[in-house]
Symmetry: C3
Subunit: 373 residues, 3 copies
Amino acid sequence: MPDAPRVIRKLTGNFLEDFEPGQRFRHKGGKTLTEGLFTTFTEFAMTANPLAKNARYARAHGFDALVCPPGLTMLIAFSQTVEDVSENARANLEYIDMRFGAPLYVGDTVEVETQVLNVRPSSSRPNLGIVHVQSTARKNVGASDEAVIMTWQRKVQVYKRDENADLHPGEVEPDAVACELWLPDYDPGQDYKGLAHLSSSDSYFEDFEPGTLIEHSRGRTMTDEHIHLTAILDNTSQVHCNQYMIDLNPKQYVGGKLIIFGGIPFTLCLGLSSPDVGDNSLGDVAYATGRHTAPLFAGDTVFAASHVRGKHGHPTRPDLGILETTLLGHKFVRDEEGRHEDAPEDAPEGWKKVKIFELERTSAVKRRSHYAS
Amino acid sequence: MPDAPRVIRKLTGNFLEDFEPGQRFRHKGGKTLTEGLFTTFTEFAMTANPLAKNARYARAHGFDALVCPPGLTMLIAFSQTVEDVSENARANLEYIDMRFGAPLYVGDTVEVETQVLNVRPSSSRPNLGIVHVQSTARKNVGASDEAVIMTWQRKVQVYKRDENADLHPGEVEPDAVACELWLPDYDPGQDYKGLAHLSSSDSYFEDFEPGTLIEHSRGRTMTDEHIHLTAILDNTSQVHCNQYMIDLNPKQYVGGKLIIFGGIPFTLCLGLSSPDVGDNSLGDVAYATGRHTAPLFAGDTVFAASHVRGKHGHPTRPDLGILETTLLGHKFVRDEEGRHEDAPEDAPEGWKKVKIFELERTSAVKRRSHYAS
Amino acid sequence: MPDAPRVIRKLTGNFLEDFEPGQRFRHKGGKTLTEGLFTTFTEFAMTANPLAKNARYARAHGFDALVCPPGLTMLIAFSQTVEDVSENARANLEYIDMRFGAPLYVGDTVEVETQVLNVRPSSSRPNLGIVHVQSTARKNVGASDEAVIMTWQRKVQVYKRDENADLHPGEVEPDAVACELWLPDYDPGQDYKGLAHLSSSDSYFEDFEPGTLIEHSRGRTMTDEHIHLTAILDNTSQVHCNQYMIDLNPKQYVGGKLIIFGGIPFTLCLGLSSPDVGDNSLGDVAYATGRHTAPLFAGDTVFAASHVRGKHGHPTRPDLGILETTLLGHKFVRDEEGRHEDAPEDAPEGWKKVKIFELERTSAVKRRSHYAS
């Protein structure tokens, strides 16, 4: 390099003062779902629903092909918004009104738009504030099968670039986005019973009893694989993948180490719950609200439980029922790693149980009467 | 959660006393082979056979597309049986009469059934016993190309739920499953010689001499990637992926740490052997018997060797010969990690060589006379 | 094993004395690009160009499908040459005259040939020398869309099998390989502007100013995932994947540990640069020269910068310009890890900045005037 060049270092993503209520982002990139991405995430999360694993089963139920499970749809759509919305975030605070629409298949291309609803300062920390946004993901824009696949709001805690900058005031109402779970028709001529051995025999709509808590029996230890998984999703947030940045100033970062992208435990908890509450579902309808309650790091083992809150018939489909659950994620940490105030009491001696995630979930579940015996 | 809910915790998988001779399982799930799964496993194992890598080569040899190598076919089919047969197993003791049938391609869907042949208690450990099963994997059930792709027996050491429970006595004969390696026709009009540079020049049928031991030169270190690889296969056994469970009671588990799923070294040894004995094969015919002789952990480096036991002409195909080898896997551990009684003597000072795997293998190998010079 | 068998241990790859100027290799294997491989590498490297991510965008620009980014084309083509050329190498010294041709799509099969140009001994180390080769990669050999996708020369430092062996003298000229970047036609009827939100608004040809140094803001920590990534590429060099070999004799190996395959930082630096200099490119034309200047290990965080050296119009395409940059990769090491003579001065206290890679790069970049506002 002959002369000392002029140095440019672009700041990526937006800071708190950059957001303005009513502002709209059409996010860059877009993402075509390949079989590589499908396999990596459907199965890292131990999804048990045969719709995502067995093409014969999926087609017999009226889908075109293997169906992208809701956790992966969420990971793909959400990640598209990271650079504009949360690349400079400290934490994702809340998911609100997350709804699913058309099914996502391998080969479909996802593109996402976001509207800023509200921006407000933190009451206690002058360098932080909260941005409230609404995002909508479409597939195959401009093609005959263009469709909304997902819409959601979230609140995210974002850093300011300049502590003294003024924020844009105001608030806008969320758009009324038409996004309702697409369901294949029930076909009385189809031999559904001949496929019933491929899913659990005790997870039909009839099997759920409101008031029960189902502790899903499997756990899954996360490794530093999370760096690769997050990169594959185009999630560009540096707190997940830049160890040097952490090493320079560990105290600034949660736990002083790389934190696992929240979409990973989100999806993993859905997967861990699937043998008990998900493998006879035709789809998740909506997540009314959800949030991360503790960070997840490489080496932690994730567990999940589902609290069955309610159930009722599907308004138009006698073959289906609507199941209302709260999905809970947790991990265990050794006592010496500090006290956690909201730690449940049911941990072995020397360990604390730490709740990491909760999600209010509504699913469309098959009735045994129509699909099995 | 307003009230203390009723807690349900499903036990997954069967315990020793649940098995009954003659009992049949149609395993849940099923698995469509995607390009993601194909790439992850064909190539993690360093498979050198161009049938699994080069579609031009595979089609010229009469296959429809890239051919799933035998190690991956085994991983997919075997994993489907884990929840029902070995989720509560301590160890997989023996593979018996493992035979291959139709080729498996990307897009094919695998479903598996298992019959219990025998159940017997352990002579020394009251909480354990041995289950002997026969499993058969089919592809594309109900479609015009439905075919058996693999059948095998295995003996697995399974825990009892209740040490005092009685076992189901009796023994049934294995089914006579028609499963013979499908081979594409030899086409005299095909320019096989024009493809000969794509495989090794010294691994044709004519090159093997019974009585030789081929030490495959490459080694491959396994990392904690095994957790992800095992999850992708739907293998739900917790001893491979639940570090917290191990930490609670390390003495109960082999080595006191997460053990690598046996299908991984099985496949990896096949891959490591492939440059020397596999890359001019049209397929593996059968594995008469096989077993794991020591556990594998993250950090171990796997090596393989092939003992050429015999060779003879193919009964109907003058272009092919049948090669009989014993595939051996081993790793090295430092002396201080304890003595291993069956350690071969050819280890460097300070190290012990530990045999981890052996497999009696029969392959259909191309003759140079018909495919090369 | 009844008798002590005759032991065969094939040496794989060539040693310095095996190479002869004018010698040609048609490399084994070949590689069909699957969606699994595409996803793993396009996205591990954080490639931001929508041509590799968004099939709608790629097709609207005149490509058939998602376009393999140059870093992955390089990884696939290069890896095919490793067994013959560099399995027994100590280091890859220099890339020369690397040029791209036809685009590579999922489903295409890559095969590679290499010619040896020159072999010479090391002046200081009697067990080493340098081999200079020229390699050319074609896709879909024998089919109607057969095409050269890439050609390049490289110099590699290779071990001798026998320190006293004579080398083959002489030198041959490189072939004049026709390999020019294929570009889709500019279609005035296409609504390119309707896609402009999918790529950066400030990385069009008009935006670059020669003399600037763009420090790309993101870093990416590498983990031992590199072992898996390298195996997936069929790169068989043991210094990337055989920890036992290193443990036996750590002093013989760079850093005394597994070294990351150079193609990984090559590709990763391209990916890290892509949001700033790559996401409005239709393709990389050529890399005149490049080299690795320090090794990369698991745990290191990779950063990149691009020095804009020049720009000029495309000879035949008014919609494009040619951008000349030098791509620079670096990492930071703690001071106590030793002094690095060529360490730039701009590192935080307690750290040294170490240049790991440089590449002279020429790209065909879209003009805003034709593709955006």
